[in-house]
Symmetry: C2
Subunit: 224 residues, 2 copies
C-alpha cells in the first residue's frame, strides 16, 4: 500500500481542500474495497482539522492493480489505515502556519461518535491551539472545550482525566519537577492531549495543529 | 436605561467571560422584566463571538428602582435592547487583538434560528476573520462558511446574495470602480457582511471581530 496526499489550509475534511491517492496491488473486489476504505477515511482523513473551515474539492481515492493476488481483508484494512493515518498526521503538521502537530485522544466516551465530537471540539479550540503554540499545558482550556459540548450532559467533570503526553494534569496537580519535564514536552513538535471521560468504552483520535502568527499572515496578507 | 459591560476574550456567550449590568428606573414587575430581558439577551449578548470559546462565568443582570413609574413594556424592551446592542458591539470590538468589528446580518432564512446559526458560522470562520483582517472582500470564504451548515439542505447556493456593506459581491460581479470603493470600506473599523438566503423571512444579526497576530500573541505568549 502506497499513498500520496496534498493538504494544507481549510482542512476539516468531510472533505476539505485535500487530495489523497492510495495505491495497492491487493486483489480485492471494488465493493469490499469501497466499504473498508470508507471506514478507514472516517477514522483518518475525516479526523483532521486545521482551522474548522471546509472546502468543496476533496478527494480520497484508492486504486488497486490486483497483481499481488488475494489478501486477508482485515489485514489489508489495517495496512491501508496505517498509511492513511501517516498521511493524515503529515497533513495536520503541514497546516497553514503550523509548528506543532496536536493529537487529541478521547477514551471512555458513551460511544465513538461522542468521543470524536469531544476530540474535534478540543482540537478546534483557538485557545487550546494558542496554548499549545505557547507551550503551556493549560488543562483549563481543554476542560473549557469539553464544556462546550453542552448536549453531552452525561459528561461529569468530576470523572474526567486530562493528560498532556504521559503526564496527568487533571485532577492530579502537577508538581514542580513534573512541570519542568512537561514544559520540555510541550516545546516538542508533537503534543498529545489525552482525555478520559469515564462513561463507557467509546474512543476516537483526531489531529490538528497549533494556531500561530503564521496562520494569520498567510490568510490575511495573501492579497498584498 | 444605563448599562455597563466587561468582555474581551473567550466570548461566545451562552454565556462567556462577560459581565453586563443594566440599570433602569422603570416600574416593571420582576416576572415581565425577566422575560423581556431574556429575549433581549438572546439577540444581543448571545449574538457575539470573539473566538467560539466559552466560559463558565458570564453574567447579565438588570436592576430597576421603579422610581420612574409605569412604562410601556414594548417601548421599554426596545430601549433595553438598544443599550444591550451597543454594549454587545463594544464587547466584540474589544475582542482580544481585534482591529475590526464584524457584523453579520442574515435575512431570508427559514426561521430566525437558522439565520442565527448561519450568521454564527460566518462570524466564527477563521478564514472570514482573517480575510476581514486583510481587508479583502472575499465572498468565496463567506460562501464556504454557509456551506458548512450541511444540515441546512434548504439553502440553495443559486439563490444566495452576499454583500459587503452596501455592495453586492455575489452573484453580481464587482467592477473595478466598485472594487476600489469596497477596498476602502474593508479598511474601516466596521465591516458588515449581509447574506440573503431567499427561503423565507427568518433574520438574525451577530457580531464578532477579525483574527489578528495580536490574538495569537495574547493567547500564546501569556506565560512568557
Amino acid at each position: 500500500v502506497v499513498g500520496i496526499a496534498k493538504g494544507v489550509g481549510m482542512i476539516e475534511p468531510d472533505m476539505a481542500t485535500m487530495i489523497a491517492v492510495l495505491l495497492t496491488d491487493a486483489e480485492i473486489a471494488s465493493g469490499p474495497l469501497d466499504a473498508l476504505f470508507r471506514r478507514v477515511v472516517d477514522r483518518t482523513f475525516n479526523c483532521v482539522s486545521v482551522d474548522t473551515d471546509t472546502s468543496t474539492s476533496d478527494t480520497a481515492v484508492v486504486l488497486t492493480s490486483g497483481a499481488a493476488g488475494p489478501v486477508d481483508e482485515a489485514e489489508f484494512e489495517q495496512a491501508l489505515a496505517t498509511v492513511c493515518e501517516d498521511l493524515t498526521k503529515m497533513i495536520a503538521r503541514d497546516g497553514e502556519g503550523a509548528e506543532t502537530l496536536i493529537e487529541v485522544r478521547v477514551t471512555g466516551a458513551r460511544d465513538d461518535a461522542q468521543a470524536k465530537r469531544v476530540a474535534k471540539v478540543i482540537v478546534n479550540s483557538p485557545l487550546v491551539k494558542t496554548a499549545v503554540h505557547g507551550a503551556d499545558p493549560n488543562w483549563g482550556r481543554v476542560a473549557m472545550a469539553i464544556g462546550k459540548c453542552s448536549d453531552d450532559t452525561d459528561i461529569d467533570q468530576e470523572q474526567v482525566t486530562i493528560r498532556f503526553g504521559d503526564t496527568e494534569v487533571y485532577p492530579t496537580r502537577v508538581d514542580d519537577d513534573a512541570l519542568g519535564r512537561l514544559s520540555d514536552y510541550m516545546r516538542g513538535d508533537t503534543v498529545v492531549i489525552d482525555v478520559h471521560l469515564a462513561i463507557a468504552a467509546g474512543a476516537a483520535t483526531v489531529w490538528g495543529c497549533d494556531l500561530t502568527d503564521g496562520y494569520v499572515r498567510i490568510n490575511a496578507d495573501y492579497t498584498t
